[in-house]
């Protein structure tokens, strides 16, 4: 018979470390999907996921069971991803002259006829990754959670540990920063 989540957590807390394995197996897809939003290389994604699980094991005593384990784990994952972003700030000042041909084509299409530039194109996906990489860690986190994952301000506050007003301020600044980066890209490309 399959053990429930609460049974597994109780067993781990009693010292049966092996009961942690089914939890890792069950929730790793969510952890990996979240980590892939912030890290591009697969080795970095694995490092983040590993770090999340090691922290989860260490801090399991602090899980009180009032909210689902998944929510607690997602908070830990988002905070680990944020630490990763703060530790790996790169390519933030590089020029946009190195856009690939499909990216350039997509932009050309958008300039000529915005409605024909598909949102499902790989070029658009790569382009948005480039833009997000240029944002500061808090701006990237808040844009990802608010605009891409469509979470509420309150949820973001719970996930990040920031206050609701701070999330709102950071979201406002992040949108403005993103527009500045897009304007810079337009200048680099067309001037």
């Amino acid at each position: 018979m399959e053990q429930t989540e609460a049974d597994l957590i109780a067993a781990v807390l009693r010292g049966n470390a092996a009961s942690f394995e089914p939890l890792v197996q069950r929730y790793s897809p969510r952890v990996f999907a979240t980590a892939r939003r912030y890290a591009r290389r697969e080795s970095e994604v694995e490092d983040i996921a590993q770090e999340v699980w090691l922290k989860a094991f260490e801090k399991l005593k602090s899980f009180r069971g009032e909210a689902p384990f998944e929510h607690w784990l997602m908070r830990l994952t988002v905070r680990t991803c944020y630490d990763f972003l703060r530790g790996h700030q790169r390519n933030r000042e590089s020029p946009f002259s190195d856009l690939t041909e499909p990216e350039n084509d997509w932009l050309e299409r958008f300039v000529a006829q915005p409605e024909t530039a598909s949102e499902n194109a790989d070029a658009a996906k790569l382009l948005v990754e480039r833009i997000l990489e240029r944002l500061s860690p808090p701006a990237r986190l808040v844009i990802t959670l608010l605009e891409i994952e469509d979470r509420s301000v309150k949820e973001i506050a719970q996930l990040t540990g920031w206050s609701v007003p701070l999330v709102k301020v950071r979201a406002f600044r992040a949108r403005a920063d993103m527009r500045k980066i897009l304007a810079k890209m337009a200048r680099d490309k067309y001037l």
Binding site: F32, E46, L182
Partner: protein, 101 residues
Amino acid sequence: MNIADLQKKLLAAARANPPGDRVPYAFEKRVMALLVARAATDYLALWVRGLWRAAVSCAVIALLLGAWAFFNPTASTNADDLSQNFENTLLASVDQSDQAQ
């Protein structure tokens, strides 16, 4: 180029392409192996910490006893007696053989 429209379009592109949730093969086994290795390291650290505490306690006790022996005059007399007694006991057989001759 309309920057606000471009922003909307790119964010829509990001929403339309969520990242995959594929987990590498045997990832959970790797995590469990790391946890076991960490626990072993923790035991070692526990021992090292305990031994350091014991060493510090022993050093403090030795210092206190040294100070007590140094500042207590009766202790020094006792120490003389003790050393004399020890010497007498150790050399008792030699003394006996000397007396026999």
